[in-house]
Subunit: 246 residues, 2 copies
């Protein structure tokens, strides 16, 4: 029986209830983190929780739990589902509220954690450049991990319709921002480069780790750069995946 952690309790997924007025459901008023658990231990928790709190500050939402309590919940939702290795998703929303944009005061945020198996290693991703939509690097949302993922869903659908696995999303200036749910690194002129956050790249937890590990340069990346890269790598909190243009 699959269990989820919802507002402080582990409950069977089949009966866990999100209120129909939850602003995460009605208005996308929420944030999330996807966290790798290996051998029962959450990976890079400090970075994940720091990003969550930073995003919550941007949208003005309280995080109703301490980092320790969040870490305990991450561990228990994996362990109680019998998963030593897991992908845990933490979702924080503004909770239930009446119709309209203003949040109730005080807000009663919803915190949900779900666990599933880590994805298996995947073959290199075949990429297209999404032309149907783009990331808005002028919005603060491009720098926080909000649940407003419909642009990414559209770009992924565009990729699948073209027989590709994923899409490179451009920013409003037409430069590379990231993939639909991963940061992107290019090997160019014998070094790694990745688009800066100001270009619409989400400040990914693994992105930060790889910038350090690879001594990668953060600089604007063009579509031409994609074509001439010696290698392309996609990074998420769950791992790395090679990629090439379709």
């Amino acid at each position: 029986m699959t269990l989820v952690w919802l507002d402080g309790a582990l409950v069977p997924a089949a009966v866990a209830r999100i209120d129909p007025t939850d602003r995460g459901f009605t208005l996308g008023d929420g944030l999330f983190e996807t966290i790798a658990v290996r051998d029962g231990r959450g990976q890079r928790l400090e970075a994940h929780f720091a990003r969550l709190r930073s995003g919550a500050d941007v949208i003005g939402l309280p995080v109703p739990l301490s980092d320790d309590a969040l870490a305990d919940a991450v561990a228990s939702v994996a362990a109680d589902n019998g998963l030593g290795d897991a992908a845990v998703r933490l979702t924080l929303t503004a909770g239930p509220g009446p119709r309209g944009l203003p949040r109730p005061d005080p807000a009663r945020p919803t915190v949900l954690m779900t666990a599933g198996p880590l994805p298996p290693p995947l073959p290199p991703a075949r990429l297209i450049v999404a032309r149907g939509t783009c990331r808005n690097e002028r919005s603060p949302l491009s720098r926080i991990k909000s649940t407003n993922y419909l642009d990414s869903i559209l770009a992924r659908r565009e990729a699948e319709a073209a027989g590709a696995d994923d899409a490179v999303m451009l920013n409003t200036a037409g430069r590379v921002a990231e993939a639909t749910a991963a940061n992107i690194f290019l090997q160019l002129d014998c070094g790694w480069v990745t688009p800066p956050v100001e270009e619409g790249a989400l400040p990914g937890v693994m992105r930060a780790a790889m910038i350090e590990a690879w001594a990668a340069a953060e600089r604007p990346v063009t579509v031409d750069d994609l074509g001439r890269a010696d290698a392309i790598m996609l990074t998420t909190a769950l791992g790395l995946r090679e990629a090439r243009l379709l």
Copy 2:
């Protein structure tokens, strides 16, 4: 007891359950309409349902009900809550699914309708121009009523922090798109003008009606235009509201 219409049944709001894996909750993979009901009759239903289907086409989501069935549900969720006049919100999401961007195939969309009282007439709205974020007129999402409302929530928070009621949202070119949850009309040089959809204005149902009623011109609107307008009007499906810059 408040009732909601959820996937074909009227159920008490207190027990109505959205699944924690609903993609509307996890990824903002959804659309909505806000519909005025007066004397038991849904207003401009044809336009609302046409926009819903158009948005569903853009994001590739099936609408699992006929227009007649949707109209019946709008009427019954109002009537069974004892409301002759009501604001009915219709939410359509991609329904439950596993972690990740691709939808399950086939999708099992969620359809939710909730009803509340129509808002009372409001005094003129005091507006600011939001500077913290903007609408992305280069994304198809600017032309459909998706649940990805966090940019609007940020702009509304900016307005409230400034002592205003609402914010004018600009597009990525710095021109006027709309208010945070309303279209905007300006009286300029003895005629009404409103930003075109290509400028990031949602194709509002009331907007279309007022363009016709006022013989309004659709043309790009600048921040300077806001300052020199003889009158400003905000339009939503629930009504009109005068506005002025703070």
